[in-house]
């Protein structure tokens, strides 16, 4: 079969579909977004009627996928690493209930925080939940692991975590497909109490999970994704995990590496292989993308016994993404470069598009607040977070999705007035609504500004779950209709918008200002699509 040229994300999507996937559930988040987008754009998904709609957030996505698995069908849920925090409750508990139809959890980590608030390592979650983890080193493995992950999941009736990082998620390479498997049909769990985690039953289920741990290790030992390569030079052994394996091999392109190498791409770690490399070699180098997860485990807290080099002793940086040069430095220190990047090159950080509605919202808000001094505006995650940069300097927080509303409420409790927040429409329905309910229930003096560009822009313009219903949602949560205001963020409306904002900021109760104008990128994409369909129709 001809090779397909696929991103790591797309390889996961194709692998899952070929394995008989019935539903993918997700909320967008870099670097995981392209998994869902690939399924949505695929003919095969249409023919097989694979569920492929975005969910409101990662928790709802996770639970819906678990429901599909309850029905006996293969399901996958995808998110960025911090999304797994949002879905952590169902994640941890689904490890205890176990699954019915094969269940794959994809979490995409973002070391170096290219598009994220932190660089947490999802492997800790896998260990926390006591489930198997797969970590591909290349696009073909990403495909194969998605494909085989379902088999592993069904064999032990547990969710399987597939962990990738930005670089693989967004890098393309040739991928060979395998036989396309049929989808499962509806088939309820044989044990009608399997999914009921009442304490007495949960204890039993948890013990089953624990008793499976040696089996998971056995699977890792025999997994084709873990390999031991013998080497003659036993002064050092190298453990390379996931993508980091490639950075190691890049530095030995003639294929001859004299040290023994253990490639780990499936967890829990195969103890026999770890024992072999630590017994055989004087010291061990660990190369892994993300936190020093493997390194810390084999080193132990006291650092006695095996001599381990890696991110903890400064051999590699403690934070940030790895690359072939960082690995090269371990073997060949300070090789001179023929050309140097000049030091006068200016930084070019991301910025709001010219003409973006968020800009007019911030300009109006800054003016409305100018007599109060700095520090009154909490914010959230989306394109509008760029309002933190000059020339706007309009916001004072960005912590996690939804936090702007609740932090504004807490700050108002502390006495801050006015206490306002700016949140995007997609972020509001993701996890801002519950915070607004809290505010309503205690009549908190806060102003929630929903900068509604009618799309999920930051991640590429996915549909937004609350489209054209935000007023109704806010009123439904109990905000007084008189204090649910709508404005259109355009230069010509500036004075009127400042007035609306002032009135609501001064109001000593919950107010919502919906500042609504479509994202210009989404709007022009729509226009182009319309033009094209007109052309093909005539």
């Amino acid at each position: 079969m001809k090779k397909l040229l696929l991103l790591g994300d797309e390889a996961i999507a194709q692998g899952a579909m070929d394995a008989g996937l019935s539903g993918i559930y997700a909320y967008p988040g870099t670097p995981s977004t392209e998994i869902m987008e690939y399924v949505q754009g695929s003919k095969m998904a249409e023919e097989r009627n694979i569920h492929r709609m975005w969910s409101a957030n990662e928790k709802t996505a996770y639970e819906a996928a678990l429901g599909m698995s309850y029905g006996g069908k293969r399901a996958m849920v995808c998110m960025k690493h911090v999304g797994l925090n949002v879905a952590a409750d169902p994640f941890m508990n689904s490890a205890v209930t176990g699954i019915n139809g094969g269940f794959l959890v994809v979490s995409a980590d973002d070391p170096s925080m290219h598009s994220s608030q932190n660089e947490q390592d999802s492997r800790y979650y896998g260990k926390f939940a006591n489930i198997p983890i797969l970590e591909p080193s290349n696009q073909q493995e990403a495909y194969d692991m998605a494909y085989e992950g379902f088999t592993l999941s069904e064999k032990y009736r547990v969710p399987v975590l597939l962990r990738i990082t930005t670089r693989l998620a967004h890098s393309r390479s040739g991928v060979k497909r395998r036989e396309v498997l049929p989808q499962h049909s509806l088939n309820l769990p044989q044990d009608t109490k399997q999914f009921i985690l009442l304490p007495a039953m949960a204890r039993v289920k948890y013990r089953i999970l624990l008793s499976n741990q040696p089996n998971f290790r056995e699977e890792s030992l025999h997994s084709p994704f873990n390999k031991y390569f013998d080497g003659v030079d036993k002064r050092m052994g190298i453990i390379a995990c996931g993508l980091a394996y490639n950075y190691l091999m890049e530095n030995f392109r003639n294929g001859s590496i004299d040290y023994p190498v253990l490639k780990i791409c499936q967890y829990p770690m195969p103890i026999e292989l770890l024992k072999k490399i630590t017994d055989e070699c004087e010291e061990v180098l660990v190369v892994e993308e993300g936190y020093p997860f493997v390194e810390e485990l084999i080193k132990g807290l006291l650092g006695t016994g095996v001599f381990v080099k890696g991110r903890l002793d400064g051999t590699l940086p403690r934070d940030g993404e790895l690359d072939p040069d960082l690995v090269a430095e371990i073997f060949w220190k300070g090789k001179p470069l023929p050309h140097k990047t000049p030091d006068w090159i200016s930084r070019r950080p991301p910025m709001l598009c010219k003409g973006c509605g968020h800009i007019d919202t911030f300009l109006a808000l800054n003016e409305a607040l100018k007599d109060y001094g700095p520090g009154h505006v909490f914010s959230d995650i989306g394109c509008y977070t760029l309002g933190a940069n000059p020339p706007y300097n309009a916001i004072y927080s960005c912590v996690d999705m939804g936090a702007s509303v609740t932090m504004a409420v807490g700050a108002a409790d502390a006495g801050l007035f006015p206490s306002a927040c700016v949140i995007g429409d997609s972020t509001f329905t993701h996890s801002g609504m519950t915070g607004l309910l809290d505010a309503v229930n205690k009549n908190s003096p806060v102003t929630v500004i929903i900068s509604d560009n009618q799309t999920t822009a930051m991640t590429g313009g996915q549909p937004t779950p609350g489209l054209n219903r935000l007023e109704k949602i806010c009123e439904g949560l109990g905000v007084e209709p008189d204090h649910v205001r709508v404005m259109v963020p355009l230069k010509k409306n500036h004075d009127e918008n400042v007035k609306i904002l002032r009135e609501e900021l001064e109001y000593r109760g919950v107010s919502v200002v919906i500042s609504r104008r479509e994202c210009i990128q989404t709007a022009s994409k729509k226009k182009r699509a319309a033009k094209k369909s007109k052309k093909t129709n005539t």
Partner: protein, 197 residues
């Protein structure tokens, strides 16, 4: 054979289209290929780059090590220099002359041009001007792709033209045709430069 290419530009300038076209051609030729792209936050008008690696043997790393790039292809002059430490000793730098100024502290053009023209191997062209003349300002990235082809061993113009047809097929025959013209115009400029040396 192996060619390691750094593609550089500003979010929205179309370097991913260049990468996709080269990728399509390379797969047709059964070359091994890895192509690391930048998605997400930086695409909002920030600096973006893509690492593209073609080889007759399997490629290990998705990222090119420093001092290993055979070619830096940049659709923006200052951005061509941001990744200079990746250029191999006798690698080529092919850059668009037209600056994209969305920052206040954009350096002087003279400083940029001096740095580029002091490199042993470079091609400079104004791809925006050429694309505008062809009546398709959006095709300046494809002009740049044309200019880069002589420096990508393993791929030739005919193969690339197929790649371009494939990438733009969805957009109709007119778009395909103007992009092929853009491609040829860029190619011609590099071929002339090579003839001179």
């Amino acid at each position: 054979m192996k060619t390691d290419i750094i593609l550089a530009g500003v979010g929205g300038q179309g370097i991913l289209t260049i990468a996709t076209a080269i990728g399509a051609a390379a797969i047709k030729k059964n070359l091994y290929l890895k192509q690391a792209e930048v998605h997400g936050m930086s695409q909002r008008g920030g600096a973006v780059q893509s690492h593209l690696r073609l080889s007759s043997r399997p490629v290990a790393s998705d990222l090119i090590p420093r001092a290993h790039a055979d070619l830096i292809l940049s659709v923006e002059p200052m951005e061509s220099l941001r990744y200079l430490s990746y250029l191999s000793e006798d690698g080529w730098l092919v850059a668009n002359e037209e600056p994209y100024k969305n920052i206040d502290d954009y350096p002087g053009m003279e400083t940029i041009m001096n740095e580029i023209t002091s490199l042993p191997h470079y091609v400079l062209l104004n791809a925006d001007q050429i694309a505008r003349k062809l009546g398709s300002p959006r095709s300046s990235n494809i002009v740049m792709l044309g200019a880069a082809i002589p420096f990508i061993s393993g791929l030739d113009a005919a193969l690339m033209e197929d790649g371009i047809r494939q990438v733009f097929a969805r957009k109709g025959e007119e778009v395909v045709e103007v992009n092929l013209q853009a491609f040829r115009a860029g190619l011609q400029i590099s071929e002339e430069k090579i003839k001179k040396i």
